[in-house]
Amino acid sequence: MAERIPRVPVREQDPKVRAHNFEEVCYGYNLEEATTEASRCLHCKNPRCVTACPVAVKIPEFIAKVKEGDIAGAAAIIAEDSSLPAVCGRVCPQESQCEGSCVLGVRGESVAIGKLERFVADYTAAETPKGEKTLPPEGRATRGTEAGGPLAEPVVGSAEPTPEGGNVFPPKKVAIIGSGPAGLACASDLAKWGYDVTIFEALHKAGGVLEYGIPEFRLPKEAVLKREIDAVKALGVKIETDVIIGRTVSIDSLIDNEGFEAVFVGTGAGLPKFMGIPGENLNGVFSANEFLTRNNLMKAFREDYLTPIHAGKKCCVVGGGNVAMDAARTALRLGAETSIVYRRTEVELPARKEEVHHAKEEGIDFQMLTNPVEIIGDENGWVKALKCIRMELGEPDESGRRSPVPIPGSEFEIPTETVIMALGTAPNPLIVNTTNGLQATRRGGLVADEEGRTTREGIFAGGDAVTGAATVILAMGAGRKAAKAIDEYLKSK
């Protein structure tokens, strides 16, 4: 019986050691571990894991290939649905998606789908000679491997059910705004179907939140992210960095003057939130966005980069999501004794379980049921302490979540040199404000239907730019749906 084999544990860097470096925490499976873990899959007739995956990776099929030792075959199956397997294998909240609905999980431990996906991507990349990328079969048959070049010829004979719309010459041009997960997923599908795709990125490096937000120790930039972005480029996708749509050039100008026939907006949710408490503009108070961007995109942790960063000797991170965990674990690695301050209990922490577990192992202090009320400064305007109040959980509200209520008179101070606000992010209003005919919701998200159609014909949107801050994989799912809608739109045009 397959379920008798226990879930194969994954090797990790010693917490005491990794608390002082930015090397990846998790080492991943080797071939033997992966085939053993793959043999645990029951290959359900109606695989619930596939339904629970926002991009519907054919999980049992790729796992079957791993079991047979055909890793290249497994990679080709994943590539049909996901352009970023090494990323997703590392950062997806599998416990609430594929692994969360695995039948084995009901009475024991689910198959380690995320770790297997990651293994397939890493193993294939290590085995593939440089320059040759893993592509789904149709891509492999019809495309060169030149990164970033314009299409030499239209793609024919796609294996995908929908798309033939790209099979005109010259191919129709699609602009993708933002090179994060939504944009990369949308671009990949459209390029596979033969469209001439250009991604515009505001920052100087591609990847969006994968580049500026998620730290090196969870997602290595050179070894993993760059590799997967190069694979997207190998599909024929062009990426133009340093172009801020709405400032450098407008969407209207892309359509009117540069010949783009459809646009996908995947600009994410980049604006930081602050609490609005006294003392937030003191020196030493940072948004998690600033702190993480300095360290990830601008590589402040590396001696050979000029970027300054200030974690202090003691750091408090306010918030309980993945970004809060990332900021806290980064501050810790930069030498700060670090506490997480969160107003609910550990059960309600929105971060992935694995991240919370890793943070605890590394020695992050968790102050639960605690809410900041003021940041106290010294005579020079630098942070000295974080004044907090203890909370308790009250009655469940309409959403069923028990809201935290302050306990009167329980104020206390945590002495600290820095405070990092990780309270979530909102979409940037720049695109809405500079494009005719687009509408935003009260919370700043672009108005779009399930397939990503916005209020203006020819402009589509998906990911955090529509929903507000969510996950990498949901953004990818939205990008893929929009790609389909763009294909239909351009075919009917």
Partner: protein, 280 residues
Amino acid sequence: MFKILKREMLTPNICKMVVSAPRIAKSALPGQFLIVLAGEKGERIPLTISDYDREVGTVTIVTQLIGASSAAIIAKEEGEFFRDVVGPLGNPSAFVNMSDEELKGQRYMFIAGGLGTAPVYPQAKWLHDRGVAVDVIIGARTKDLLIYTEELGSACDNLYLCTDDGSVGFHGVGTACLEDLVSKGKEYTQAVAIGPMIMMKFATLTCKKLSIPIDVSLNMLMVDGTGMCGACRVTVAGKTKFACVDGPEFNGYDVDFDEAMRRLGQYKAEEAEEKAKYVK
């Protein structure tokens, strides 16, 4: 990659560069800024646009040697490339969106200090070309540190130079020069100050005294310049604003200059360390 077409040292510390950036040149307006990254390992440095040529596709930036990253920008030679130039960022100056009707009868006074003199040029030129009355005061410590005198001379009605040591022009700071002019009967409907934060603070105090409205251009610390990091937070009329997307120009009367000055020094310790390594 963005090619440096021209490079000229205006003073021993201040460097002017004309950079090829066609897309940015097409969209740039007075008051906006750019972010420049000299090389892979540098910082993203915000610099106010000092000129642009839509036909040729160039933008002009003027940089002062302050830390390691500005040193890396200045170290570039003609014909070399910047890794990244991003922009135009921020909002254009308020007058850009004003109608001819609204501009009619306005009398502008620009108070420029140090490096801030360069970005005054496209603003003064814009107004001067539209027939709006423009006077400019340029202040510096001494004669040799005055920049853009020729360019600004051709972009305004009256150019006033002032030096702390009296080596040329008015003997004293720019704000004293403004008071002197007003006492002699000059009238202004709007002032704009661009320069060191402390200078803009005193320019604002002087304008308040003279009942002249004033806009100031805040060059805060920034990472992305698009509203993402919040490093450029400033308190304006009691509310937190991001200089990058809400500014960079604000009504001077409303700005908390002391906080802004303090926030500018936030990475001083780290920067001194870097500078010691790279700038000998």
